[in-house]
C-alpha cells in the first residue's frame, strides 16, 4: 500500500510540473498587469513545436528550444494585441487559444496525406535520478527520481521568486502591474515591460507544453492541453500570485489529476468520467473557498495609455 502511495506522490510531482511552468509564466504576465488567459494556447503551441522539432531533428534539445519558441510566438500575438492595440486581455487570451488549437491541428495534418492526422511518436524523456539522494526513503523516489524538466521547474520557482522580490527589473515589473503611470513618471516604459513579461510567460508555457508532449506521452494530439492552462490560472490565484504559492496550488491540482489516473487503474466502482472531473472540481472548490481574499495586481486588465491631457 505504501508503495502505491509513494508512487502516487511521485506522480503528483511529475504531473504538477507542466502546471508549474505555466503558472510561473502566468505570474510574470499577471504581475505585470496582463491576464494570462492565453496560457492554454501557448502550452499547446509549445507541445506541438516540441514534438515536431524532436521528430524532425532527432534531438530533444531542438524540441525544447522549439517549444519555447512556439510559446513565445503565441505570446507575441497577445502582447502586441493587448499592448499596442489595447485589445481586451481576457478575450484576446481566449482568441489565441482558439487560434493555437486550430493552427496546431492544421499543421499536424499538414504532415499527413490528404489532410489526415498522422501519429508522430517520439521517445519520452527519461527520469533522471539524483545520485545518493534518490535512494533516500520516501523522499528519494518522490522528489529525486524525476525527469530533468521537473527539477528545472522547481529551480525556476526559486528563480522567479528571487527575480520578483530581489531584483530591480522584478520591482519594476511588479510596479507596472500595480500602477504603470508611476513607472512611466520615473522614466520606465510600462508597455515594453508588459510585452517582455508576456513573451517570457509564453516561453515558460511553451516549456510546459514540452513537458506534456515530450515527457509525458511522447506524441501530439489535438487539444492535448485539455484545460491545463486554466488550471494553471487557478493555481496562480490560489498562490496569491507568488511562485511559492503557485507551487502549492499546482501540487494540489496535480494530486487531483494523479488520483484520477490511479483510481481508474484500481477499478473503483466510481465512474471514470466522474474521476476525470476531479481536477476541475477541486480547482473550483479551492477558488470558491478562498473567495475574495485574493488580491490581484491593481492595474491588471487595464491598458496603459501614455499621453495625459
Amino acid at each position: 500500500m505504501t508503495d502505491a502511495f509513494v508512487e502516487f506522490l511521485a506522480a503528483t510531482v511529475r504531473i504538477a510540473s507542466p502546471l508549474l511552468f505555466a503558472a510561473l509564466g502566468g505570474i510574470l504576465s499577471e504581475r505585470a498587469g496582463v491576464f494570462a488567459v492565453g496560457l492554454e494556447g501557448m502550452m499547446l503551441a509549445g507541445a506541438f513545436a516540441g514534438v515536431v522539432a524532436t521528430y524532425g531533428t532527432g534531438m530533444v534539445l531542438a524540441g525544447l528550444l522549439a517549444s519555447i519558441a512556439g510559446g513565445m510566438m503565441v505570446a507575441a500575438v497577445v502582447a502586441v494585441a493587448t499592448t499596442r492595440f489595447r485589445a481586451d486581455q481576457m478575450v484576446t487570451g481566449l482568441a489565441v487559444n482558439v487560434l493555437a488549437l486550430g493552427l496546431t491541428s492544421f499543421l499536424l495534418r499538414g504532415f499527413g496525406a490528404r489532410g489526415e492526422a498522422p501519429t508522430i511518436r517520439v521517445t519520452t524523456l527519461p527520469s533522471l535520478p539524483v545520485p545518493w539522494l534518490a535512494d533516500l526513503p520516501l523522499v528519494g523516489p518522490v522528489l529525486f527520481r524525476q525527469p530533468a524538466l521537473t527539477y528545472l521547474a522547481v529551480a525556476l520557482t526559486v528563480i522567479v521568486f528571487v527575480f520578483l522580490v530581489r531584483t530591480r527589473p522584478g520591482l519594476t515589473l511588479r510596479a507596472v502591474g500595480e500602477n504603470p503611470t508611476a513607472v512611466f513618471a520615473v522614466g520606465g516604459n510600462p508597455a515594453r515591460v508588459r510585452v517582455i513579461a508576456v513573451v517570457a510567460a509564453g516561453a515558460l508555457a511553451g516549456l510546459a507544453g514540452a513537458v506534456l508532449s515530450l515527457q509525458q506521452v511522447g506524441t501530439f494530439t489535438d487539444g492535448m492541453t485539455h484545460g491545463r492552462g486554466y488550471l494553471a490560472l487557478a493555481a496562480i490565484i490560489v498562490g496569491r500570485w507568488m511562485p511559492g504559492g503557485a507551487l502549492v496550488g499546482c501540487l494540489v491540482f496535480g494530486a487531483a489529476d494523479a488520483l484520477q489516473l490511479r483510481v481508474q487503474a484500481i477499478h473503483l466502482p466510481v465512474s471514470s468520467y466522474v474521476i476525470q472531473m476531479l481536477p476541475y472540481i477541486v480547482s473550483l472548490a479551492v477558488l470558491a473557498g478562498l473567495g475574495r481574499t485574493a488580491r490581484m495586481p491593481a492595474a491588471i486588465g487595464a491598458p496603459f495609455v501614455r499621453e495625459r491631457r
Binding site: 527589473p169 522614466g187 499621453e307
Partner: protein, 512 residues
Amino acid sequence: MLRMTGISKSFGAVRANRDIELIVPPRRIVGLLGENGSGKTTLMNILFGMVRPDAGSIEFDGRRLEGHTPREALVAGIGMIHQHFMLVPAMTVTENVMLGWDETGRWLHPAAVAARIQEASAAYGLDLDPDAVVASLPLGAQQRIEIIKAILRGARLLVLDEPTSSLSPPEVSSLLDVLRRLRDEGRAVIFISHKLGEILDVCDEVVVLRDGEVTGRAEVVGVSRQDLARMMVGRDVTAPLGRVSRLPGQERLVVNALTVRDAGGTIRLRGMSFSVRAGEVLALAGVDGNGQAELADVIAGLARPDSGHVFVDGADVTRGGVAARLASGLGHVPADRGTEGLVQEMTVAENLALRDFDTPPLRRGPWLDGPAIRARAVERMAEYDIRAGDAEALVATLSGGNQQKIVLARELGRHPTVLLAVQPTRGLDPGATKFVIERVLALREAGAAVLYISTELEEALAVGDRIGVLHAGRLVGLMPRADADVTRIGLMMAGALAEAPGPAALYGTSPA
C-alpha cells in the same frame, strides 16, 4: 536655471498653451497661478517630458531639452511632484523610492535605501517611515514620499502641481516650510496652484496663466490679491450672490448617529447626526478624505452604515438602497460626475433618463417609451442650456460644464425634496460654477432641503445657510452663516478645534 520659451501646445481644437515663456532662476520659488484649464498642468507635463510641445524650446542648466522622456528630465535634475501621486499603494516607501532609481544596479538593497530615506527625512523634516506601506499613509505623508524621491535623485528644480489640494492647514504650512528649506539650499521650486493665499505666502515671484497664455508676472512683494485675481480670471471676481433670506420649514433630511467602517475596519464616520430643513442649504466643509465620500454614499443609498439611520421626509430609507432614495424624492449630484453620474458612452437623452427609466412616464409596460425619453431630453436641454449637437450626441463629446448641466437637469428636473450635492463645481470654469450655484439656490427657494458638500471653504460660505465642518468622520462644528469665522473653521478643518453646535445652529433659525 530653467528657461522655457515660446511653448505652444494644442489638443485638437483646444489650445492648452500659447507661446508661453517661463524663467526660473536658482534659489527662487516661482508660483504658477491659474484656474483649472488655464494650461498649467500641460506646461509642466511638457517640461517633464510626458507631453511633447508643438513649438518652443526648453533650456535647463544651459542644456537644451528636446523630445526628452521623463527619465531624461529626472537625470537632468528636474523633479516633478504630481497632483495625483505617482506611487504604488501596495508597496512600501522604500520600494517606491527604489523604483526607477538606477543608482544601485540590478540587485535591490532595501536596507541601504531605507537608511538614506531616514537621513533625508530627518534633514528636511519629512518624518517618513521607510517600511510603511504607502496605502496606509495619509495623503500629506504620501506627498512627502514624492518629495524625498526628488531630493534623493538630486533634483535641483522641483515642480509641485497643486500640492495642497488634499492637505489640512497644518500640513500645508509644514509643506511650505519644507519648500523654503529647499530654496535656501540653492534649489529652485515651481509652485503650481490656484490658491492666491498660498502663492502670496511662499513664493518669491508669481506667473499668472489664463486660457493658455501668460497674463501677468510679478514679484510677490509688490502685488495684491485683487491684482492676482484679476490677472487670473480677467474680470472682477464673483459678483455677490443675491440671497433671499427665509425661515426654514420642517426637517426633510435627517441623519442620525451614522457610523461607517471601511473595508479595512477603520472608522470613517463616527456617530454623525444632523438634519436639513426645507428651504435651507447646509454646507459641509472639510478637507477631502475626512468622511465626505462615506457620508454621501450612505445618504445616497450606495452604501449601508454600520449603525445609524437616514430619514427622508420622515421615511427611514437607511437600508433601502438607491431605489428607496429615488422613491422618496432624493436627488444626488455626485462628486464624480463623469464616471458615476453619467454614462459616457451613452447619449444625452439616455443619460437624462438614467435615474427613472424604470418608472412611468419613461417606461410603458415592458418597454421604454422612446418618444417620451426624447421629448424630455429636448425639454431639459433647452431649460438648462445644454450645448450638444442633439439629444443623440454621446455625453463623452461634451465639455465638463455641459456634462454637469446634464446631471443637474436630471436631478433637479425630478423636483427633489432633498438634494445631495457633492463637489458639484469641481473642475468647472467660473461661468459654469456660477450656473450650478444659481440652480442650487433656486431649488432652495422652491422649498427643497439641500445638503452641499464641498472642499472649497469659500464656496461653502457663499452657498450655505448653515455651515458644518467635517473632520475625521465627525461633525466638529455647525454654525449659522452669520457666525461663521474663517479662522475658526480653518482650525476645525485641521482638527484643532471642535465645538458643540449651539441651538441657533441646530435649528437654523438665523436668517442669512
